[in-house]
Amino acid sequence: MAKKMLVISNLHARAGNREILRGVDLSIGAGEVHAIMGPNGSGKSTLARVLAGHPEYEVTKGQVLYDGGDLLAMDPESRAREGVFMAFQYPVEIPGVNNAYFLKAALNALRKHRGEEELDAMEFMTLVRRRMEMLDIDRALLNRPVNEGFSGGEKKRNEIFQMAVLEPRLAILDETDSGLDIDALKVVAAGVTAMRTPERAILVVTHYQRLLDYIVPDYVHVLTDGRIVRSGGKELALELEEKGYGWLEAAGAAAGKA
């Protein structure tokens, strides 16, 4: 078996005194698309944010290997430079900072880390223009301050646009579908689907199966109460749509006692 890109073993994490992840095991290989589903408060977003290195969470047990290296030992910017990207559930506003300027700084930080030449403004714009067409993004968005005054849909689209420019190896989408109308959802999903390559792994965190109609996953995992209680193929998502999460939560609670 090929070595997996990301191997999460027995991951426990808490925010303050609240334990949220209680032993997550998950492996993701290059070229695979995994979906993490689960009810509100199950720890889905926590998992995404722990992988990205959010300072609010403390990992208390377990390990995460990324390309065989200790991901948890890396600071957030090193993870990003090594190709880990997270599309935020609530993208943050940075008033007064031009969106294009921000993205160019980010791209050049990554390129510098890889020992590549930094792009100048012209080269950057050429690259960006192609990505914008792909995601049907308005040119004006580039010159507006990062996420400031963006509609919910614009913010999410901007996240995927950043992802398309930064070309991560591991892309984590944290509830990217929330707050999107169906048209915006289709555009975002098409953008993500276009980025499926044999080298790239994608982890989609979502509450609803709706997104998975457009980004078809190879694997679906159900997270309840901080543990993965069920894994399966794409048909598991449909089953959840039909039955809800209740039956699995009961199973999770039972497993917890065992």
Partner: protein, 481 residues
Amino acid sequence: MSTSARTIEELARREYKYGFVTELEQDAAPRGLGEETVRLISAKKEEPEWLLEWRLRAYRAWLAMKEPTWSNVKYGPIDYQNIIYYSAPKKKPALQGLDEVDPEVRRTFEKLGIPLHEQKLLSGVAVDAVFDSVSVATTFKETLGKLGIIFCSFSEAVRTHPELVRKYLGTVVPYSDNFFATLNSAVFSDGSFAYIPKGVRCPMELSTYFRINAKETGQFERTLIVAEEGAYVSYLEGCTAPMRDEHQLHAAVVELVALDDATIKYSTVQNWYPGDKDGKGGIYNFVTKRGKCLGVNSKITWTQVETGSAITWKYPGCILQGDNSVGEFYSVATTNNHQQADTGTKMIHLGRNTKSTIVSKGISAGHGQNTYRGLVKIAKRASGARNYSQCDSLLIGDRCGAHTFPYLEIKNTTARVEHEASTSRIGEDQIFYCRQRGLSSEDAVNLIVSGFCRDVFRQLPMEFAVEAQKLLGVTLEGSVG
């Protein structure tokens, strides 16, 4: 404390890069202040009788004045008898050209990135370099002279253009104005003088670079800029000082006069030594800056980036006397460690249809305390006057403070005055967002702060804006929690 807060703490202890001392032989006045000190300074400068009289009137007025206590800053008593009021590098008697500047002094300015050779200067910037109490060199004098522009040290202007100095000195900031301005009027040593004749657009930025070098010395410079009818000038001011354990007093006065249709842009990047991380040492920057829009359609713009000094007490203002005149104030004030700033502006609307804009950005980090204090006064006859004020504060960490004191005095019912204020904090979420995109914490803070200051930075001349942004970067490096 979170990791990012810790990084910030560490980086906030960054050292002041301009803190070196130049060893020079000094020609200094004895310590302390009395009538004889005033006479000595005036004599050293070979001043005419009227100017000595003016200084003495100021000195006598000062004796009757009390140091103001209304500002929101705290400091121990200043012993005015323990300050040296005049200090100059010893030099050859006649300084004919730039080549004759003492090599040590020249090296000091080179170290500060201000070369005094014209050919090495940024084209488009003429520099007057003030070292302790005297101006040591002014560049591009001839080029400017061809256009009738006078740009020289204040002392030289007193010698060569006494009629102009006499006509305007004290017309904007009278010698009796306030405690520190009055002290300055008595003992001011040097500074810059600029005069732009009628209809002339000054083709380059005029710049003065102030350096305090000598120990236990106060710097009291005085700058006067006059723009005649239809003239335009952009003036820049920069300053640094060595690191010293004791506080040093800097009490400057700047007067600007704009006649009909004239425009003066005055930009400052203030980087006096701020003291160490425990608040020891640093400059007390107690400065009076005021411009008078004397003529119709005249315009004065103050832009300041204040990153240094232990204490900043400064309210560059505009007296909008001419009808349709415009006053603008754009400010970024930063306080880190134990720095305190009480700064803002005064817009005094006297003429009809006068307009003023105030954009103030205060950034506090560490234990820094940052106060915006502003006055907008609309006189009875100033019909149609308009003011827009925006005061934003950015907090970094949880031990600093931001305070806003806007005063509005409106005597005319047709006035339109708007005031907006906001306070925000650099959030851990903002930093994390940037880091998740591959930027370091420091770059993230710089980016967020520069975004916050954008409205002010874009008022600065290009090279200066870049410099200001870098300076702010180092001042605040990592100060987020």
